[in-house]
């Protein structure tokens, strides 16, 4: 039964070589980040594990949404973010990437 799906192939081994045999370079993309109160805290706390692209692709969201995201980073991914910076980053995100709703 499996034989039908997985076709056995006859060994024909080419010499080992990599398609690319030097280090590849992942390009840097500079995301436009809005400046404003709290930006420094976002810069310091949120860009260590992923790009800003990760954050803005969520679309405009409520304050509660952003608060929960920041907390998720701490609880699940162990982000070292202080209590104070949780406030500051949440406020920044809501102000610039918010939808106006608290919840």
């Amino acid at each position: 039964m499996m034989k039908k799906i997985i076709i056995l192939t006859i060994l024909s081994i080419s010499a080992l070589f990599a398609q690319v045999n030097e280090a590849v370079e992942v390009p840097y993309i500079s995301y436009e980040i809005k400046m404003g109160k709290g930006f420094d805290a976002v810069n310091a706390n949120c860009l260590m594990c992923h790009s800003f692209g990760y954050i803005i692709n969520q679309g405009p969201q409520s304050k509660d949404f952003w608060h929960k995201k920041v907390v998720k980073m701490i609880v699940h991914f162990k982000a070292p973010i202080s209590k104070e910076d949780v406030e500051i980053t949440t406020n920044y995100l809501f102000e610039h990437y918010g939808n106006g709703a608290l919840k």
Binding site: M2, I5, I6, I7, L8, T9, L11, I13, L16, F17, A18, Q19, V20, E22, A23, V24, E25, V26, P27, Y28, I29, Y31, E32, I33, K34, M48, C49, H50, S51, G53, Y54, I56, N57, Q58, G59, P60, Q61, S62, F65, K69, K72, H76, F77, K78, A79, P80, Y97, G98, N99, G100, A101, K103
Partner: protein, 398 residues
């Protein structure tokens, strides 16, 4: 105004902008207006780009007219930002350890010469593909429909490797780890665990994709291929296979990639279902590759609608097309079957006889009789997983 700014700021030209106050959770068509970026990543042509670190690239819709997705268009999804950008194929080893009789350190050369070589054509799809269809926004990357592709994979059966190592009697779990790393030392790494009885002979350790080395961003030099399953367990840059008798608690196993453990696999934003289960195997789905939204065609011209359909390996029985909003459905022609895990390409001759906007809908039906639901009939889940709504593209007839 705010929304405008947001869109400008986003590299993905028109990122999701759905409101988030809907209370029950509703589902529509995934976002389809994102453009490919100007920047090409290594071994890739420019793709829809969500993030550079970690790299997240989506295949544009028009690729899905073909049963095989080319390597340079294949989507990219990493969880961790630190990915090795150079691998020496002469020294690379896959280590097999834990509850085995004999630890193995398999070089690429041994993998290619000392084991039986096998091939399988299989779809690789992210569990969160089409996540942008869910509202309120479900956690994670807001993919359109292009976090999927189909390739011909070549490698060695995992079971052959495990047999060579010899499993001890009490072996139950197998953990797979790749070379990607978190940027912060306390962040959980992306290890996957599967029960030995979940792994059958079709699971392979693959070193070739469509006749070429795997691209770096798709896991060079080897990755796990688990036909029929969502891609979360298809570990890339596979470096370590550890056999254990105990399940380790891991974020990416216990929290991510899970859906409500009830019949509808659904919940509401206010009332999340308490118990969850892993996403595992794929449901039946199809995507139209041509025409795309806003394509302009002439009245009375001969349009050939093309797309791909797939499921978890039962195989596609039919794809049906509607051009009258779902009132009537006609069978599309299915192309040659490339194996039950592969994309099944379909085509459908359509002659538009009315002017103006026309919506084309595609619905796949598998050999079990399971068929795709309408987008609005799909119920919400917090992770935005397993969307498989009937695909709709709207064209203009002039």
């Amino acid at each position: 105004m705010q929304r405008r700014d947001f869109l400008k700021a986003s590299l993905a030209a028109s990122a999701v902008a759905l409101g988030s106050s809907a209370s029950a959770g509703v589902t529509g068509q995934p976002v389809d207006s994102r453009k490919v970026s100007k920047i090409a990543f290594p071994e890739k042509r420019p793709l829809i780009t969500y993030s550079d670190r970690p790299p997240l690239l989506e295949t544009p819709r028009d690729s899905f007219t073909k049963a095989i997705t080319s390597n340079d268009e294949f989507f990219v999804r990493w969880h961790m930002p630190e990915i090795p950008t150079h691998i020496d194929p002469d020294t690379y080893k896959i280590n097999i350890n834990g509850l085995v009789n004999k630890e193995l350190h398999i070089s690429l050369n041994e993998l290619k010469t000392a084991f039986e070589q096998v091939e399988v054509t299989s779809v690789l799809q992210c569990g969160g593909n089409s996540r942008s269809a869910f509202n309120p926004v479900a956690g994670g990357i807001q993919w359109g429909s292009g976090a999927m592709g189909c390739a011909k994979w070549k490698g060695v059966r995992l079971s052959d490797i495990l047999n060579r190592a010899g499993l001890k009697k009490d072996a139950v779990w197998i953990g797979f780890n790749g070379l990607d790393n978190a940027a912060y030392y306390e962040t959980p790494t992306f290890i996957r665990e599967m029960r030995i009885d979940e792994l059958d002979d079709h699971v392979i350790v693959a070193y070739e994709m469509n006749g070429e080395d795997l691209p770096y961003l798709n896991g060079y030099p080897v990755r796990l291929v688990i036909p029929g399953h969502y891609s979360d367990s298809w570990v890339k840059m596979l470096s370590n296979i550890t056999v254990t008798n105990e399940y380790k608690s891991l974020f990416f196993m216990d929290v991510a990639y899970r859906i409500p453990d009830n019949d509808c696999e659904c919940e509401t934003p206010e009332n999340k279902f308490k118990t969850t289960k892993p996403i595992t195997t794929m449901n039946v789905k199809s995507v139209i590759g041509y025409p795309t939204n806003n394509t302009v065609v002439y009245h009375n011209s001969h349009v050939v609608v093309r797309g791909v359909a797939f499921d978890d390996g039962h195989g596609i029985k039919d794809v049906v097309i509607s051009t009258d909003g779902g009132k009537t459905w006609k069978e599309a022609i299915l192309d040659k079957d490339a194996g039950r895990y592969a994309f099944r390409a379909f085509r459908f001759a359509f002659k538009p006889t009315a002017y103006g906007k026309v919506s084309i809908m595609a619905k796949a039906i598998n050999r079990l009789g399971a068929e795709q639901p309408l987008a609005q009939d799909i119920k919400w889940n917090h992770g935005g997983y397993k969307y498989n709504g009937i695909d709709v593209v709207t064209i203009e007839v002039v």
